[in-house]
């Protein structure tokens, strides 16, 4: 058998097993945008038996970043002596009345970087400018920002700043579990978050809320394997945390990366698009490193932020609405001209739905 044939056979076997194990409608939620993309792209929603439904949770860092943050970034971009350094997917995210892309067209110095270290290099290369790195992302990305801030400290670089909005996914997951509207039978845990955090921060899902959860990798087969393990738990009426991505997720995570987060960030209470404020779900730069906290170092005037009332991104992020329930979907809101963040990011549910079609997705019916 060729490798492709082997994979196909393995997928067929897993699907068959899942079908045998599950004898009632179940709903599993993936809490990672990279999973969302992989699931849509590989057509897993259509392949799974009718009774097994996958819904996307708030797993796309760009999508959960509220207008308030974008407006702040835009306010910094307006300053003549500031260079904004950001991951590319932030550019099209609409703020209340503008976007970084529009600012860039209007002449603002906004540079796409691949790594926070590239932003630090821009600071070294441009001593007369102030560089503001947009620190967005979950536990996977937060230690990179932290290590970069530490590196800036070691080199005593004075023109590098971070607009920090890193977030804890486990805290958001707990907020979801406390929401009575949300009915989920199990979770695919975000593999690359767990690479950093290990499994322990998600233990409450099983212990306190009695829901099965499996750490999943990102190939179609990885995901099917994780769904199979969830199905087994459902069948056996178990609730435990399992790891289907052991080749990179160690039980204890990456200890150095966790220490970097702890050394640089304190817990904060940020707003998540759609979910509102979630206590202690955010990371703000602590006092020791406040020299690198742009909010503390450079004051700017920001417009009053408002969310677009027609965008249903919030309910989409909770798995309560499908993109096609949104009156703007495909009509006004498209990947080229996104009205909401869930359409901007390639990891957003609206974007994936637009690109790959709806699959079989009938949450709430």
């Amino acid at each position: 058998m060729t490798k492709a044939e082997e994979s196909r056979k393995a997928a067929e076997n897993l699907l068959k097993k899942i079908d045998e194990l599950i004898d009632r409608p179940v709903r599993f939620m993936e809490v990672c945008g990279t999973h969302t993309v992989s699931i849509f792209r590989s057509g897993i929603r259509q392949l799974l038996p009718e009774k097994v439904e996958l819904v996307s949770g708030p797993g796309c860092p760009v999508c959960v970043t509220p207008n308030d943050y974008m407006d702040m970034a835009i306010a910094y971009a307006k300053q003549k002596d500031i260079i904004i350094a950001t991951f590319g997917d932030m550019l099209k995210v609409p703020g209340t009345s503008s976007s970084l892309n529009a600012m860039k067209t209007a002449g603002a110095d906004i540079r796409i970087v691949y790594s926070p270290l590239d932003a630090l290099q821009i600071a070294r290369d441009n001593p007369a400018k102030k560089i503001v790195f947009l620190g967005v992302g979950f536990e996977t990305t937060a230690p990179l920002s932290a290590a970069t801030i530490q590196a800036a400290g070691n080199e005593n670089i004075n023109n590098f700043f971070v607009l920090a909005a890193h977030k804890w996914t486990n805290t958001a997951l707990e907020a979801l579990l406390n929401d009575k509207d949300i009915k989920v039978d199990g979770f695919l845990l975000p593999g690359h978050v767990c690479v950093i955090t290990g499994e322990e921060p998600f233990a409450f899902v099983a212990e306190k809320y009695k829901k099965p959860a499996v750490v999943a990798g990102f190939d179609a087969l990885d995901i099917l394997q994780a769904v199979y393990m969830l199905a087994k738990q459902v069948k056996n009426k178990e609730a435990k945390i399992e790891n289907a991505y052991k080749r990179v997720v160690k039980a204890e995570g990456n200890i150095i990366a966790k220490q970097a987060i702890e050394a640089v960030f304190d817990k904060s209470t940020p707003s998540w698009r759609g979910l509102g404020e979630i206590p202690l779900s955010g990371m703000q730069i602590n006092d020791k490193y406040s020299k690198y906290d742009v909010l503390k170092q450079i004051a700017v005037e920001k417009e009053v932020s408002k969310e677009n009332p027609a965008c249903c991104c919030g309910d989409v992020l909770k798995g309560l609405k499908k993109p096609i329930d949104c009156p703007l979907f495909k009509k006004i809101c498209t990947p080229d001209k996104p009205a909401g963040a869930c359409m901007v990011s390639v990891e957003g549910t609206c974007h994936a739905w637009y690109k790959y079609g709806q699959g079989r997705y009938h949450y709430g019916r």
Partner: protein, 74 residues
């Protein structure tokens, strides 16, 4: 955004490594994975190595998939 990809370290110098990702070479930081060495397979994310890839565990997954298949035939 949490996209991370496997890469092989071809050269290590202090806390920086040259890695090979499907034939393309790039520089990444080992600040968060100082124990990584030349020849190791690592997972990288936005310019940093973030974890070692365990080949033995990769085999474990292959084994599990085989089990599902064998079960099926029995």
């Amino acid at each position: 955004m949490c996209l991370a990809v496997p890469a092989k370290i071809v050269e290590k110098k202090d806390m920086m490594a040259t890695v090979d990702v499907e034939g393309v070479q790039r520089q990444i930081s080992l600040m968060l994975l100082p124990e990584a060495d030349e020849g190791d397979f690592i997972l990288m994310h936005a310019g940093f190595a973030i974890q070692m890839i365990d080949e033995e565990e990769a085999k474990f997954t292959a084994q599990l998939l085989k089990e599902v298949a064998e079960n099926d035939e029995s």
